[in-house]
Symmetry: C3
Subunit: 92 residues, 3 copies
Amino acid sequence: QSCCGIDNLIDQKIQAAVQSAVSAVTSKAQLICLNVSSRGADVSCPSGYKATSCACGMACGSWDIRGESGCHCQCSGIDWTSARCCKVGLNG
Amino acid sequence: QSCCGIDNLIDQKIQAAVQSAVSAVTSKAQLICLNVSSRGADVSCPSGYKATSCACGMACGSWDIRGESGCHCQCSGIDWTSARCCKVGLNG
Amino acid sequence: QSCCGIDNLIDQKIQAAVQSAVSAVTSKAQLICLNVSSRGADVSCPSGYKATSCACGMACGSWDIRGESGCHCQCSGIDWTSARCCKVGLNG
């Protein structure tokens, strides 16, 4: 194989390695979610997670997300609050 | 080009290919979401999706996510339940 | 180093560069979220974001997501509507 062919050889090697890494990453990248709940009107997601929504006791649909991960239920006399917490991560 | 220059040449080729793959992946990686709803108090996201939140009929804000993708509305006499379902994917 | 060893050298270089790019991307990939709210029964996420959930005034838990990013609260006399808006992005 003449020396100038090495250029193509290198390019092919690089593309093959990059493509396989890209498909490995994209097939493993996913949304990792968990639920946290607590008595009262407030609960927070664990570090690294963001709240994507909140649920409340007493049928209450009025809530807000404080900071990136805190759920607060606004109705009076709330008995429990839960947060749906998600992050992007690699599976396996 | 002397043989020892080949080292730099290879490095440059590799970096260029890797950078272009990284920007391709990052520009295409996105949150892909859909809604599913059903009569009654329960509904599940399709395979591969995770529930990020639930909504309920009867103005009910008390719900929970079961497993990774199941929405359950807790109030009595629930007429419909919906789930917001998301995953990480590549666009196009 | 004999010429045939160059093959391994190239492979090692490629793998090292690809691995470092993969770990850089995966450590920076994250869920980027924000809240938007508005008076009345409708609000939409900014471009590039998807709604992962909605919250409503009047303790209302009945809402739906329209298009990819619009929140609509269904109860009557809704005073405010908020959307939790998220996307996949690179941090830093």
